[in-house]
């Protein structure tokens, strides 16, 4: 940015605005040869440029109101809880809070908030631009379509983990707040507090990566992503009723395996061995990469026919 540092130098212009340089130098565009010589540097610059444009859009878009609501809703509940006096049975058993948090996290944050947050953020990355008729802005650039998909995907992941990572951490602290500072200090320094929180944040990140890839792909391949999103929600929600082999074809199965506190699945559940984190984490990342590659193939053949979309 060509910002003028001193008021004297602004010539009465707003220093927060861009101003033309006094002399415009003639700049040769990057040649194909130089780009071929340094593809990683170019791809990095392009990815960063896409990230800058997309992250702003991801946080300010009107469609993201639902995401704000989903990430703030559990915080609001726990703020209320922290303001009200705790029941005696709860006060006497602070260990129960970890189970309460596990229920809140797995039932609401993971299955609803992050799920629908990712639907809103990631299906919007390409489908939203088609609806707003702005996708040609990127498609008229000399950017590898894989780089475009990666840039948009990373912007979605950064936005989603900002929303839900902060929400998860805030909820975790708020849940333990009524027990007092001394308990919290002990829980986080000597107890399992910090490792649990870290594990929940990792699960949130993996959920954003996994669901994000799936919904980015759906936004590219399907005109109305709501129907497949609904079907996936049903599949993920009732996954525990499925035979063990089918349970493994879901994101939630692997995420639950990494959660630090496991919950009873209920009387109707079909018990399945939890998958080792050494398989869950690379497995989720691998599937996400495959879906992103498939999305790139779709973008390579994408046509701009806004009128018919």
């Amino acid at each position: 940015m060509n910002k003028t540092p001193t008021p004297e130098g602004t010539n009465g212009r707003d220093p927060n605005h861009h101003h033309p340089p006094t002399e415009v130098e003639s700049v040769a565009p990057p040649t194909e040869e130089s780009w071929r010589d340094w593809p990683w540097a170019l791809w990095y610059r392009q990815t960063m440029a896409i990230l800058r444009l997309e992250i702003k859009r991801n946080f300010l878009g009107r469609r993201l109101i639902a995401v704000y609501f989903l990430s703030l809703a559990p915080i609001s509940l726990l703020v209320l809880r922290a303001l009200l006096p705790l029941h005696e049975s709860e006060l006497g058993n602070p260990g129960k809070a970890s189970v309460v948090f596990a229920i809140l996290y797995q039932a609401f944050t993971l299955r609803l908030a992050i799920f629908f947050g990712c639907v809103a953020i990631f299906t919007n990355l390409f489908r939203g631009e088609v609806m707003e008729k702005t996708l040609h802005y990127y498609l008229l650039s000399p950017v590898q379509r894989e780089v475009l998909v990666l840039g948009k995907y990373l912007s979605g992941v950064i936005s989603a983990i900002t929303f839900f990572g902060l929400s998860t951490a805030a909820c975790y602290f708020l849940l333990y707040a009524p027990y007092g500072w001394t308990f919290m200090e002990e829980h986080f320094t000597k107890g399992p507090g910090m490792s649990h929180l870290f594990a929940y944040l990792v699960v949130s990140l993996l959920a954003c990566l996994g669901y994000g890839a799936v919904f980015l792909g759906i936004g590219l391949y399907v005109r109305n992503p709501i129907v497949p999103a609904g079907l996936i929600l049903i599949w993920e929600s009732f996954n525990f009723l499925l035979p063990p082999i089918l349970q493994k074809i879901s994101v939630i199965h692997y995420l639950q395996s990494i959660c630090p506190v496991s919950l009873p699945a209920g009387p109707l559940a079909i018990m399945t061995e939890p998958t080792s984190p050494w398989i869950s984490v690379p497995g989720l990342l691998g599937v996400s990469i495959l879906v992103i590659l498939a999305s790139s193939l779709r973008v390579k053949t994408l046509e701009i026919t806004y009128g018919t979309d």
Partner: protein, 314 residues
């Protein structure tokens, strides 16, 4: 495929069963090429095909030797001012161009300099820090042009670039196109403002219903249209005498005398021979000539002849 031409080889595009363009074969050399045709003629489809926003159902397209399925190479050479009048939300004019150049991969400093250079070329410097969504139609058109030229492309594709511009801005923008073409670039303009296209084009591609109906220098195209006699207006003091000579020498198929008796409009199948006859009549019969001008070798007339069955009437 040639490395300095824009080449379309038997290109067709169908939207389902709807024809976009059909069997287009073109070879565009540097200079200003105009695509002319009514709504639905296929002009925008053709431009979108050339820049890879659409994929041809059949045929091949090459832009300076680059296939349109290689956007990472294509758009280092191509700038496109599309008809799409929508922009990413929340961006100022500066952000729009600068972001576009950053996505190209230009480093920050170069991108900023090039952004200002492009914005200055379209005279939008004062509005550069305002949000594009608040721009007038003409300003939006100019910022799209700035985006198209910002990376100094060798091929500039412009879809109705004069829409929404006032006469002064049109004149400036046309000057910009001419300068770009003089520097050796291909400038392909789709427009329905025929007289302006006629003035600036090195060649014209006439389209109708998805087909190219004629291409080339507009006067050359007109000369080859033997089915439509050339229409020539002569202002002179003895129009009846001139008409008589023209019919006598079989150089006119139809003549209409002006009501004021000061001239005539004549249709001839051989304009060159008529002009020779006119010279002789002027010398032999002492005819005073005030003006001589063909009246139907402009883009509009040629286009009307080509897309209608109207044989032309005086």
């Amino acid at each position: 495929m040639s490395n300095d031409t824009v080449t379309l080889d038997n290109v067709s595009k169908f939207y389902g069963e709807v024809l976009g363009v059909n069997r287009i074969t073109l070879n565009m050399t540097p200079g200003i090429t105009s695509l002319v045709g009514p709504n639905g003629a296929g002009k925008t489809t053709l431009l979108n095909l050339i820049c890879g926003l659409l994929r041809p159902t059949r045929g091949k397209i090459s832009v300076l030797g680059i296939g349109t399925d290689h956007p990472e190479r294509l758009f280092t050479k191509v700038g496109y001012c599309s008809q799409f009048d929508s922009f990413p939300k929340g961006l100022t004019g500066f952000d729009l161009i600068n972001g576009y150049l950053r996505v190209h991969g230009f480093p920050a400093k170069e991108a900023e300099q090039m952004t200002w250079a492009a914005i200055e070329k379209v005279n939008l410097t004062d509005a550069a820090n305002r949000r594009v969504h608040g721009y007038s139609k003409g300003m939006r058109q100019r910022i799209k042009l700035a985006q198209a030229i910002s990376h100094n492309p060798s091929v500039l594709l412009l879809d109705e670039p004069l829409n929404g511009l006032d006469p002064m801005a049109r004149s400036e923008v046309i000057g910009l196109f001419q300068e770009t073409a003089r520097n050796g670039a291909h400038v392909v303009i789709s427009s329905h403002i025929l007289h302006e296209v006629d003035m600036i084009s090195d060649r014209v591609i006439l389209m109708n219903n998805g087909y190219v109906v004629a291409e080339g220098d507009i006067h050359g195209v007109r000369d080859e249209m033997e089915d439509h006699p050339m229409q020539i207006m002569v202002r002179c003091d003895k129009p009846a005498l001139l008409a008589a000579h023209a019919f006598q020498q079989n150089r006119a198929v139809e003549v209409k005398l002006h009501e004021d008796g000061g001239g005539l409009v004549l249709r001839t199948r051989d304009a060159d021979q008529f002009y020779l006859l006119l010279n002789r009549v002027v010398l032999d019969c002492k005819v005073g000539i005030e003006a001589v001008a063909p009246t139907d070798d402009d883009v509009h007339s040629v286009y009307q002849y080509l897309i209608t069955n109207d044989g032309g009437k005086l």
